[in-house]
């Protein structure tokens, strides 16, 4: 390599004095070192630009959370002292649970308002430091926004999955379906998988692959179920329907027959 560079240099400029090969080597290392230094400088500059913002964000959050705790404590003491719960109960005629008494609600509202204020001030400080010190183009803030959106999506998905799973479980148990738990788990995981796909899509991770994989997975499940019901479990399904109809036949007269020979819940 060294010889090749030396020969090439000589051919290109025969009148020029030929530099020793070690000198060329030093130049390359010098360039590499320069590049590394510049890169390191850029990253450190970026960190220096962003770090105060991040620190300001956390400091603001912690300080306001502490202030919120103090305000909440004082508020709780004061309201307890003036028997606020008792007065509210007398005025509204409503009985408040100890865990959701007006005093506790107000104290919690005060605390969370402080935390929210701290959050806003922290984000504002971060935004300011980002805007002033961010010479290099960074896409941290937009990505953070996406991450927050994805987190909210994930929480909502988990809550919906749990709610639907419970609904299905209770309805299926009350309908006396033996596979109630299986149905409930199935619904839960379908919603969770859907949520996962949406979160990844929101984070722009995986691109089209996520959507494609999700489509294939769902389509596969539906196809598998169709085949299972249509071919494999035909007899099982027909037996299940027959037993259900049989149950209906014995169930309806029992409920609607005359008062002397039936169970009447109401």
């Amino acid at each position: 390599m060294k010889n090749l560079i030396a020969i090439t240099t000589q051919q290109a400029s025969p009148n020029l004095s030929v530099f020793p090969t070690y000198s060329e080597d030093a130049t390359i290392w010098h360039h590499m070192s320069e590049a590394l230094h510049q890169s390191l400088y850029r990253v450190l500059t970026l960190l220096i630009a962003v770090l105060p913002g991040i620190l300001a964000f956390f400091v603001s959050l912690v300080i306001f959370a502490l202030v919120g705790m103090v305000i909440s404590w004082i508020l709780r003491r004061c309201l307890t002292w003036v028997k606020f719960d008792l007065r509210m109960a007398r005025k509204t005629g409503t009985d408040w649970a100890p865990t959701t008494s007006p005093t506790l609600i107000l104290a919690r509202v005060a605390f969370w308002m402080c935390v929210f204020l701290g959050l806003i001030i922290g984000v504002s400080a971060f935004d300011t430091s980002y805007a002033t010190g961010a010479a290099p183009p960074i896409s941290l803030l937009p990505y953070l926004t996406h991450a927050v959106g994805a987190a909210l999506l994930l929480v909502a998905g988990i809550l919906i999955a749990r709610f639907l799973a419970r609904s299905v479980l209770i309805r299926a148990v009350n309908a006396q379906l033996q596979y109630a738990r299986f149905l409930s788990i199935g619904v839960k995981w379908l919603v969770l998988v859907l949520t996962g796909a949406m979160v990844l899509d929101h984070l722009q991770v995986g691109g089209n692959i996520v959507g494609l994989a999700f489509g294939i997975l769902f389509g596969g499940i539906v196809l598998a179920l169709s085949l299972a019901v249509g071919l494999g479990s035909r007899e099982l399904v027909s037996r299940s329907i027959e037993s259900h109809l049989e149950h209906e036949r014995t169930h309806i007269p029992e409920e609607t027959a005359g008062a002397g020979s039936s169970i009447r819940h109401f």
Binding site: D95, V173, A259, I263
Partner: protein
């Protein structure tokens, strides 16, 4: 206690002749209505009674009673807030001293019972007179399992049928019910229930029962136990929550109830095995949800119950009382979604019904068992009050 008059005066002057008793009759089949009119004629003098009805007077039925036509409505299985408002309106218009509200199937009430309901209000200074029916042991099970014991324990009321659809009301009671109906509910809401006994206790009015014979109770159009139990129990739980400041005060226990005639056990065995199977399935699958509501001791007892065979299945009365109280507290605290909560109660209720039917089949009179259940509820009331005030987190 005086209550504000929520009723608007819109009745024509011609219909305002005074009457001692206003009988408000909700929609019912024509033949039932004809029989009921005949019973009313036998029970009351025509000068002192006025009938307001949602039914059309059959052409064949000649009566000397004064009848006022009210807007027609569909058949009801329970009284709606609009019925109370209409009845109170009629009573005010005609300066009535007593109001009878009679619903579908009231033709099976004898003239003596109808007279007794009115007399309780007119002569015995009772504000709320409720018939005490003699029902077959296999009917009115939600009432026997939850409504009666819970109302008795919480409101210290001895009324056996708190959600009765036949009532005798004093004018002030009718006004109070109308006021509550107008204040709390949209008049034509289809799934809203009013609890007259609870209102009478809250107002400090006197309530008593009038012995009545058997009666055919109208059934909900939707026979599904899931929706009936959720509606009725949910409504009672909500009413108890709204009146918590009242019932937590110490109250005198109700007087010992009069005994009623036992109705013979009907032919045909009930499907106890199916109900026990439903309970077992729930015990396998709903542990996770029950554990959010019930304390470990109750869960353990339920586990033991689920191991019993259908023929010997029993649910201890104190366990059932504890379960209902825990579900009531969870309803109040919104431990889980209220729809889920009431759905999770259904298998437990079916287990109670299975045990109750087994007891009856073994020769125990149904009323004895129901009274024992109500006594268990009363005995466990301190637990309810304690957990209502200081709900601990036993499952945290």
């Amino acid at each position: 206690m005086a209550t504000a008059n929520p009723i608007h005066d819109e009745t024509p002057v011609a219909d305002r002749a005074a009457a001692d008793v206003v009988v408000y009759i909700t929609a019912m089949p024509a033949e039932q209505f004809t029989r009921l009119i005949a019973n009313l004629e036998a029970a009351f003098s025509a000068d002192h009674i006025l009938v307001a009805t949602q039914n059309e007077m059959p052409a064949a039925a000649a009566t000397h009673l004064r009848v006022i036509q009210k807007p027609q409505a569909g058949f009801l299985w329970t009284l709606k807030p609009s019925n109370f408002i209409d009845a109170a309106q009629c009573a005010i218009d005609h300066k009535a001293k007593a109001i009878l509200i009679l619903s579908q199937g009231a033709d099976s009430l004898s003239p003596a019972v109808l007279r007794g309901l009115a007399d309780a209000v007119l002569t015995a200074a009772i504000d709320l007179a409720v018939p005490h029916y003699s029902l077959p042991p296999h009917t009115g099970l939600i009432n026997s399992a939850i409504l009666y014991p819970l109302t008795r324990a919480v409101f210290a009321s001895c009324i056996r049928f708190p959600l009765s659809i036949d009532l005798g009301l004093s004018l002030r009671m009718a006004q109070r019910l109308a006021s509550v109906a107008q204040r709390s509910f949209a008049p034509n809401e289809s799934d809203v229930l009013l609890w007259p006994v609870n209102e009478a206790v809250a107002a400090g009015f006197a309530a008593d029962e009038v012995d009545a014979s058997s009666r055919a109770l109208p059934q909900p159009t939707d026979m599904d136990i899931n929706s009936i139990l959720a509606l009725v129990a949910g409504s009672l739980f909500a009413d108890i929550e709204a009146k918590a400041a009242l019932w937590q005060r110490p109250r005198r226990p109700p007087p010992i109830r009069r005994t009623t005639e036992e109705v013979a056990l009907p032919d045909g065995a009930a499907d106890v095995a199916r109900m026990v199977a439903a309970f077992r399935l729930a015990a396998q699958n709903l542990q996770e949800i029950w554990s959010l509501v019930l304390p470990p001791n109750s869960l353990l007892m339920l586990k033991r119950c689920s191991a019993l065979d259908a023929a010997g299945f029993r649910m201890p009365d104190n366990l059932w009382a504890r379960i209902v109280f825990d579900f009531l507290i969870a309803y109040r605290l919104r431990t889980i979604n209220r729809g889920h909560l009431l759905g999770a109660l259904i298998p437990l209720y079916l287990a109670w019904v299975a045990g109750h039917l087994n007891l009856i089949a073994s020769g125990t009179p149904a009323e004895h068992h129901i009274e024992a259940v109500a006594a268990a509820f009363e005995a466990d009331k301190p637990y309810l009050v304690a957990r209502w005030r200081w709900p601990d987190r036993f499952n945290a």
